[in-house]
């Protein structure tokens, strides 16, 4: 049957591609930010900060596209949910980009030759890798409308939370040297940024479930732990 709103659906598809493409930019930013931290690379840090303009630009572009579609095309049903979800996705993209900037800004503060602890750096590397994988998974789940893959992000995020707690314990036991403690404090802020990126990926997973089921629920809600994610529509 011919699509009576072919042009609208083409525009909507392009908008989704553009928003999900923002997640590719985030993956790149996470990779660079973690490399910056591991190598104390001030030059790369500057690049991460400057490149955030690309992510912010993408946010503005998608945001404007969403407003335009709402105003001109009055989407309904699944189309409406996709448009609403795209707005959430691009907001998370923008937030994740900002977390990468935050990580990059912590590098010069930590000094060029900091009293680094290899265990803490190793943990951060693993966190960075995990965050990166979660962002990729969130993109795939949304693009495929795959609720199971989206819900799996909760399990993935447990790993990043566990690594974050490990970082905290390592930082606690870092010793009495003030420089070393200051460095550890900054690295905890890096860990916090990565942990938040993981949360944002889970949020995108929740939007995937919303698009598919029409029901928005947090996958995990500390104030309502008994809630379970909505099941995919039959």
């Amino acid at each position: 049957m011919p699509d009576a709103r072919a042009q609208f659906h083409e525009e909507l598809s392009e908008l989704e591609t553009m928003a999900l493409g923002g997640l590719d930019l985030v993956v790149e930013a996470v990779e660079r930010a973690i490399e910056t931290v591991l190598n104390q690379d001030v030059e790369l840090a500057t690049m991460v900060i400057d490149d955030d303009d690309r992510i912010d630009g993408r946010y503005l572009e998608v945001h404007q596209g969403v407003l335009s579609l709402l105003a001109r095309q009055a989407p309904v049903a699944t189309d409406l949910r996709v448009v609403a979800a795209i707005l959430h996705v691009i907001k998370h993209v923008e937030r994740m980009g900002d977390q990468c900037v935050n990580m990059a800004k912590l590098v010069p503060l930590a000094g060029h030759e900091p009293p680094a602890d290899p265990r803490l750096l190793q943990n951060l590397e693993r966190m960075g890798d995990q965050a990166r994988r979660q962002v990729i998974q969130s993109k795939l789940a949304f693009a495929r409308r795959d609720v199971e893959l989206a819900q799996d992000l909760v399990r993935q995020d447990d790993q990043i939370d566990e690594l974050n707690r490990d970082c905290f314990h390592i930082a606690l036991e870092i010793g009495d040297d003030p420089d070393r403690r200051e460095w550890a404090m900054h690295m905890m802020l890096v860990a916090r940024c990565l942990e938040r990126i993981g949360d944002n990926a889970v949020d995108i997973g929740e939007q995937t479930a919303f698009v598919v089921t029409g029901l928005f629920r947090e996958f995990e809600d500390a104030s309502h732990p008994q809630l379970v994610p909505p099941a995919p529509a039959a």
Partner: protein, 290 residues
């Protein structure tokens, strides 16, 4: 005079019949209304409704409830049976040669196809507003509104009051109060449609059917009618046939989707436009066919 031109009444030829006939339907309707305070719309219930044009089945067994004092929008592609169905509700479908309806339609507890029910009384209780504004071309604004009352045989000692009240109810009074003697046809399209609504409500119906009432109007006139619909539902049950999805979204409490003579889905309007149950509804409201 055709039924379409009469809008809410069947015409003078049926008037004599009405006056001589024991009007059980109207009496019961009045009694029911008198017991209610304030005036409220009534429930229309369809059970197993089928409608035919000759041998062709246009409505294939529809069960549907139109809730009192709610706006129910009927949507669906052209030819799906929306207009046929609403014409069954005020017994206009049977006026077409070889057309007939089967099943049950009730106005609260009254079977409108029941034996001895007066068709004119049905059409007075269930008024209709059409796609194209159709004021009587030779009549003044005043007479257009009064015509509904006169043709339905209702006696009133205060026709001026009825006309004024109806024009106020249709949101037209302030625009025409100084020129009631001018021809109704001289009004703008939007005003003419509100004049037709005034003519409809002048006979104090219980239910108002609007069959694409804004399709011939500009956006501003459309919004005025939509605003009026929201006011009218305080007193009447409204059935709105529309091809305009956004109009259904703006004014209807419930929306029913029809396809090929069948009722696919009826639900709260918000549900229909955010997360409908049936894939065919989803495809239609999303513009994937139609």
């Amino acid at each position: 005079m055709t039924l379409e031109n009469a809008s809410t009444t069947s015409g003078e030829d049926t008037l004599a019949t009405e006056e001589t006939q024991a009007n059980r339907f109207e009496r019961q309707a009045k009694e029911a209304k008198a017991s209610e305070a304030p005036a409220a719309g009534r429930r229309v219930t369809l059970r197993g409704l089928k409608a035919y044009y000759g041998d062709a089945e246009a409505i294939r067994g529809v069960d549907l409830d139109y809730e009192p004092n709610k706006v129910t929008a009927m949507i669906g592609p052209s030819g799906c049976g929306k207009s046929t169905m609403v014409r069954c509700i005020n017994r206009m479908h049977e006026e077409i040669p070889n057309a007939r309806a089967e099943g049950e339609i009730k106005l609260d507890d009254l079977d409108i196809y029941g034996e001895g029910v007066d068709v004119v009384a049905v059409r007075r209780a269930i008024g209709m507003v059409f796609q194209k504004p159709n004021p009587f071309p030779t009549m003044s604004i005043f007479d257009n509104v009064a015509a509904g009352v006169r043709l339905s045989g209702t006696k009133t000692s205060d026709m001026k009051g009825v006309v004024q009240g109806s024009l106020r109810g249709a949101g037209l009074w302030d625009e025409v109060k100084d020129r009631l003697g001018e021809p109704g046809i001289g009004l703008s399209g939007g005003q003419q449609q509100r004049l037709c609504i005034a003519r409809t409500i002048a006979v104090e119906p219980e239910v108002i059917i609007m069959d694409e009432p804004c399709s011939a109007l500009d956006p501003v006139a459309t919004l005025k009618i939509e605003e009026l619909i929201s006011e009218l539902k305080q007193r009447y049950t409204i059935i709105l046939v529309t091809h305009n999805m956004q109009q259904a979204g703006r004014v209807a409490d419930s929306t029913a989707f029809m396809l090929s003579g069948e009722l696919v889905e009826v639900d709260e309007t918000e549900r229909i436009f955010t997360n409908p149950n049936d894939q065919r509804t989803e495809d239609y409201v999303s513009g994937k066919f139609g």
